[in-house]
Each structure stands twice: as structure tokens, then as C-alpha cells.
């Protein structure tokens, strides 16, 4: 063996072959590198972001539609401001802002006496807050005034009274009542009735929320029917502000336990 042909121990790489391969494949390597670079820098980030910006655009378009609809509704309300004011006034008389107990008691007294009943007892207390399931999961709490009414009447008068309560403009309901036949001092046969009457009141203080839609459509058939129904109710004037009443601390219990 010649001394010039001595090979170094370890890995022996033929670099000239690698250089040859690299030179032969330089175009494909550069093209592949560029492709990879484009994918990393542009393709993947843009692709990943595309769904987000599409969703963003969808939400903004939806918000634009909501605001456009809202503008239309508000402009219509501005055009029919007098109607809206009149409707609000009507609705506020049916569901009053404050308890207005004397007015309510006077109304109940008027209804009872107009029905031919003799009012023997009239007292009131404040009921607890009620939270009805209004619609679309939105809940609105309101307070109630509870009235205990005692009467002497005939059965027909009692029915007339119930009808009048159901037809009274200020909303009132009779969750329970009872009557029993009694004989007056004069020997006259009467029905002694006890009614528990509840009337809600609600002070609404809304705020303007720009991005939330206004659902009210004063031209919708439901709303028109509702307002017409309210207009058909009987509105009572406040005749006797000094009506004698008794305030009780807790709602009067008028119901007897059923003996089933």
C-alpha cells in the first residue's frame, strides 16, 4: 500500500457525489423549498384565519341587519308617536307603575257596589314579587297588591262581580274565593262572600341598548288585537280617594283547608 493512499479512519463521505445530486436537483429543491415557505408563511395562516374572518363577517352582517331592522322599527315608532303614546298610556292604566292602592280599592269597591253587592270588608296588603315566564326566556318581575274583600250578595250578583273584575281595565285576578249562605238580621237570605283579589304593578325602566333589537311591532296583528282588547275594558274613575281601608301586614288568608 502506498503512503499517499492512506485513508482517514471514520466516516468517509464522497462529497462530490452529493454535490452532483444537489446540482442535478437544484430546481426541484428550490421549488419545494419555495412551496414549503409559501405554505408556512401564507397558506396555513390564511387558511386557518379564513373561518374566523368568515364568522366575523357573518356576525357583522347579522348585526347590520338587526340595526337596519331596528332603524325601520324606530322610524315607524317616530312616525306613529301619538299612537305609541296613546298605547303606552293605555297599557300603563292596565298594568300600573305603582301600587296606587287607594285607586285600586276604590275600583274594587265600585265594581262590587255596581254589581249590587254590599261590601262588608275591604283590606289590603302587599304581595310578594311574581316572576312570570314572559317569553323567549325573558323574565320580568312585578309586585302585587292583595285585597281581601268581604261581601253580601246573591249568586247572580256574584257572577256579575266576577265578570266585572275580569273586564276591569286595571288588571286584577281572583286566585281564590268562597261564599256561604247566610241570613241577614232582617231574615233575608244572602251569600256571604270572601274574595282574595290580586292586582300587579310594575315600574319599567328600560335603557337604550343600541345593538339589541326592539321586538315591538305596533302594526302586528297580535299587538293591534291586544290594544283593541284593552280598549274594550272598562276604565273606572277615581271617585272616592278617602275610601276606608285596613292595611294588613300579611296577605289575608281566606281559604279553608279542603276536607277531602
Amino acid at each position: 500500500m502506498k503512503s499517499g493512499e492512506n485513508k482517514k479512519p471514520g466516516l468517509n463521505i464522497d462529497t462530490s457525489k452529493i454535490k452532483g445530486i444537489l446540482i442535478n436537483f437544484v430546481v426541484s429543491l428550490v421549488a419545494s423549498g419555495l412551496s414549503l415557505l409559501l405554505i408556512i408563511l401564507i397558506g396555513y395562516p390564511y387558511f386557518k384565519n379564513l373561518s374566523h374572518i368568515k364568522e366575523d363577517l357573518r356576525q357583522k352582517e347579522q348585526l347590520k341587519r338587526v340595526l337596519n331592522d331596528k332603524i325601520v322599527i324606530l322610524n315607524r315608532l317616530v312616525d306613529f308617536k301619538s299612537v305609541v303614546d296613546e298605547d303606552s298610556n293605555l297599557v300603563n292604566q292596565v298594568l300600573v307603575n305603582e301600587a296606587e292602592v287607594p285607586r285600586l280599592l276604590d275600583e274594587v269597591n265600585q265594581i262590587a257596589t255596581n254589581s249590587g253587592m254590599d261590601v262588608t270588608r275591604l283590606s289590603y296588603s302587599y304581595g310578594g314579587a311574581e316572576t312570570p315566564d314572559v317569553s323567549e326566556g325573558k323574565q320580568v318581575s312585578y309586585s302585587t297588591v292583595s285585597i281581601a274583600l268581604g261581601t253580601d250578595s246573591s249568586f247572580e250578583q256574584l257572577v256579575v262581580f266576577m265578570k266585572a273584575i275580569e273586564n276591569a281595565a286595571r288588571f286584577a285576578s281572583v286566585p281564590n274565593f268562597r261564599y256561604a249562605a247566610t241570613t241577614t238580621i232582617e231574615g233575608e237570605s244572602k251569600l256571604g262572600g270572601s274574595f282574595s283579589i290580586e292586582s300587579p304593578f310594575l315600574l319599567v325602566k328600560s335603557t337604550a341598548v343600541t345593538d339589541e333589537p326592539v321586538d315591538l311591532d305596533i302594526s302586528s296583528q297580535n299587538f293591534v288585537d291586544f290594544i283593541n282588547m284593552i280598549k274594550g275594558l272598562k276604565f273606572y274613575e277615581f271617585l272616592n280617594p278617602n275610601i276606608e281601608v285596613v292595611k294588613t301586614e300579611t296577605p289575608t288568608e281566606e281559604v279553608t283547608t279542603p276536607q277531602e
Partner: protein
């Protein structure tokens, strides 16, 4: 039989294979690059277009918000009215019409029956009274449960669901039969 004889030297065959491999890989790499460039351009253009649309929507939203803010008093008034309208709608829908129930009860009661007391709650009522005989009480109970009862309110034909006769006793002094019944009724039929 004469077969094909490949006279190309082995080194030339290797060289041809090498050349073919280089050509193929270059072509594939260039096609791939072309596709990537096309896709990236498409994504770039689409994203740019969507961003422009978002920007336009933002401007429109800002303008609409400004106009809505100018009408905030009208909006508050509308919201107040809407809230009360919805509450009242629910209240009216949930209020049973007891006047109709009392009328129905009275129609189904024969003249031989006298109701001395009635205690009404949601879904049930306790009735005590008297009758000339046992048959009148049975007739009253049957009338209450009669789903084909004629003469009453057609909507309330099935309003009374069950009647429990809790007690019946003969009062000898007056020769009357006293009774106590519990009547369950379907209050949903009494609602608007």
C-alpha cells in the same frame, strides 16, 4: 427465435435513468409550486375581499349606531311598552275566568240542589249544600261530569274533571239530604 438485444452500455442506462429522475422531480416540484402559489393567491384574495367587506360592514354599523343613538328616547319608550305588553299578555292568558265557571256550575245544577257554600281555589272547589233527595245529588254529580251536557258553554263541556262525594247525610228535621263534594276542574279551559 431472435430476441431484443440491448446494446446500450450499462453506464449510459444509469445516466438515462438519472436524467429522467431529475426531469420528473423538477416537473413535480414545479407543478406543486404552481398549485401552492395558486392556492395562496386565492386565499390572499379571498381574505382581502372579506376584510374589505368587514371594514364596509363596520362603517355601516357605526353609521346605524349613530342614527339609533339619536332615537334613544323612542327606543326606551318602545322597550317600556314592549315589556308591559308581554307581561300583560302573559297575565291575561293565565287568568282563569271564574265567572264562566260559576255560570257553568249553576247551569248544571238542578233546582232541587241548593249550594250553601262554595270554596274555590285553582283547580278545585269544595261545595256543600242540600237537596231534596239522594237522586238529585246523583243527578248533579252526573251533570257535572257529563261531557255531552246540553245548554252549557260549549267550550266548557269538559271543564269538570272529577267529582268526589265526600259526605252525604239525611237531616231528619228538614227531610233534606246534605252533601259535601270536591270538584276538580280543568282551569286551562277557563283561560283566554
Amino acid at each position: 427465435m431472435a430476441g431484443d438485444i440491448n446494446l446500450i452500455p450499462q453506464s449510459e442506462v444509469v445516466e438515462q435513468i438519472k436524467t429522467k429522475a431529475v426531469k420528473t422531480s423538477t416537473l413535480v416540484a414545479l407543478i406543486f409550486l404552481g398549485v401552492v402559489v395558486l392556492i395562496c393567491t386565492y386565499l390572499f384574495i379571498v381574505t382581502g375581499s372579506i376584510k374589505k367587506q368587514i371594514s364596509a360592514a363596520d362603517s355601516a354599523i357605526a353609521s346605524l349606531r349613530g342614527r339609533i343613538n339619536e332615537l334613544s328616547l323612542v327606543e326606551i319608550s318602545a322597550r317600556n311598552l314592549d315589556k308591559k305588553y308581554k307581561v300583560l299578555n302573559t297575565l291575561f292568558a293565565q287568568r282563569p275566568k271564574y265567572s264562566a265557571l260559576l255560570e257553568e256550575l249553576n247551569i248544571r245544577k238542578s233546582k232541587q240542589i241548593t249550594i250553601d257554600s262554595l270554596d274555590l281555589k285553582i283547580g278545585s272547589m269544595n261545595i256543600s249544600g242540600s237537596a231534596g233527595n239522594y237522586i238529585a245529588i246523583a243527578g248533579f254529580v252526573n251533570n257535572l261530569l257529563d261531557k255531552t251536557f246540553e245548554g252549557g258553554n260549549a267550550k266548557l263541556k269538559e271543564v269538570f274533571t272529577t267529582v268526589s262525594l265526600n259526605s252525604v247525610s239525611l237531616e231528619k228535621s228538614t227531610n233534606e239530604v246534605r252533601f259535601f263534594i270536591v270538584v276538580n276542574y280543568n282551569d286551562s279551559l277557563l283561560k283566554q
